[in-house]
């Protein structure tokens, strides 16, 4: 297993916890008050409650069940039922390697995390989930790279096979409704990083060059929704 994206950085605010699945590994991903992101096995060391149901307290994640607090290193440092007790060092959440780069949160559940190098001057567009395998989703984003409302002349480039990242270069013809994408001297690029949730669910995390306009980003968001429909229809017709 390799590094994969789990969320756009924008969609995990300070003091928030979310659930993410990566090739069937269930995890709790959370951001502390100071902005540190952690990805842990979604299982409280105490009684196995999902940690994604918990809540962030400053630099700690608290379990929703009995309120045990874990710091950013995963160590339990507070047990509400025994406030005087210093919890043994052995009580520790199972940590995965996580990093943020190019506006995306990347995780590797089994080894070191090595994100794909993408331009840093990008903005978040959206994450869209597709009910199909990663391979079918990847093919659909490539095949439909010139589907309305982004059209013609789009070049695709597979930036990385694993994790799978596709780039769309300089989309859109002269009569497009999204003017900033046509600027030949400074073309907009779009990056699509795929997360394998499991065999039948994939999430596409989409970013675009910083200078893409609001209209461009909305067009991209609608396009991604259309690609999803196409990908899912193709699954339906082969079943």
């Amino acid at each position: 297993m390799t590094t994969q994206p789990v969320s756009l950085s924008r969609d995990l605010a300070e003091k928030q916890v979310m659930r993410a699945e990566l090739s069937d590994v269930d995890m709790a991903v959370w951001r502390s008050a100071s902005g540190v992101v952690s990805a842990w096995e979604n299982r409280c060391p105490h009684r196995g409650m999902r940690l994604s149901h918990g809540f962030v307290r400053g630099e700690s994640l608290a379990c929703a069940y009995h309120g045990w607090h874990y710091n950013c290193e995963g160590a339990c440092h507070y047990i509400p039922a025994h406030p005087e007790l210093e919890p043994p060092k052995t009580i520790k959440a199972n940590l995965y390697n996580v990093t943020e780069a190019s506006g995306i949160i990347w995780v590797n559940a089994v080894g070191t995390v090595s994100p794909v190098t993408l331009p840093s001057n990008t903005q978040a567009v959206r994450s869209v989930s597709v009910h199909c395998s990663l391979e079918i989703a990847a093919q659909a984003f490539k095949d439909y790279c010139s589907l309305s409302p982004i059209t013609a002349n789009t070049r695709t480039e597979v930036v990385s096979e694993s994790p799978y990242v596709l780039a769309l270069k300089a989309p859109l013809p002269a009569n497009s409704p999204t003017p900033s994408m046509q600027d030949k001297s400074n073309p907009v690029s779009v990056f699509i990083a795929l997360q394998r949730v499991n065999q039948t669910t994939t999430v596409a995390h989409i970013t675009a060059s910083e200078h893409a306009s609001e209209t461009d980003c909305i067009a991209l968001s609608r396009w991604a929704n259309k690609v999803r429909t196409h990908a899912e229809v193709s699954v339906g017709s082969t079943e």
Partner: protein, 220 residues
């Protein structure tokens, strides 16, 4: 003018009315109805009040309402002195509010029905309801993605309206119907913003935002 709410604590549609009343600081009388297991909303007495046999029902001196969206409008128009929850001063936002109130009824039909099936074992075509619920949540997610690109935090603009309350209930309760929010990041952000509103009210399955909880709270 205050009112009486015929209410069931686990009903998403009743919760909408309680939530808006709480946010606007409106006092009212609650008449609990034994929806489950008593089926008190199907008794002749109740059907005389509301022939549809549904909850909630709102009664005041000169009004009897049997639709939660209508109740939200009635309450906002009377008690919201800021005119933001039912934005009658802005044709665009008012129209969008009506549009999303209409959408909220679809959520009752899909997620609401699936939740009754999941929690109370109501007979239903679960696969169809599941497909419908997913379609509805995707429509909401698509819209909220666009709103966030526009820098707008709520369904119709930068402030919540009765439509946000109406759509909030069953979107937030979808885990009760077996649909988690994991794959819906824009919905997640929007649910969180509503949970952070001043005067927010909880119900079983919908909790307050952790920021507003007391230090070291834990279930026992």
């Amino acid at each position: 003018m205050s009112f009486t709410l015929h209410d069931y604590v686990l009903s998403g549609n009743c919760y909408k009315v309680r939530l808006l009343a709480q946010i606007l600081g409106v006092a009212y009388t609650v008449k609990p109805v034994d929806f489950h297991p008593g089926k008190a909303h199907k008794t002749p007495e109740f059907l005389a009040l509301n022939p549809h046999g549904t909850l909630p029902v709102l009664e005041s001196d000169n009004t009897l309402l049997t639709d939660s969206s209508a109740m939200l409008v009635w309450i906002a128009q009377q008690f919201d002195t800021t005119h933001t929850w039912w934005p009658t001063n802005d044709a665009h936002r008012l129209a969008l509010t009506v549009q999303w109130l209409g959408f909220s009824a679809k959520l009752t039909e899909s997620i609401g029905q699936l939740r009754l099936h999941t929690m109370l074992n109501r007979p239903a075509d679960a696969a169809t309801l599941n497909t419908l619920s997913t379609e509805n949540l995707r429509e909401l997610e698509n819209h909220l993605c666009e709103q966030s690109i526009r820098g707008l935090a709520f369904l119709t603009g930068d402030q919540p309206t009765v439509a946000d309350i109406a759509c909030f209930a069953y979107s937030a309760l979808s885990p009760d119907a077996g649909i988690e929010h994991t794959l819906y990041p824009a919905i997640r952000g929007w649910l969180h913003r509503i949970r952070c509103l001043e005067g927010f009210l909880t119900m079983p399955g919908i909790y307050e935002a952790h920021e507003t909880r007391n230090e070291h709270t834990a279930a026992s």
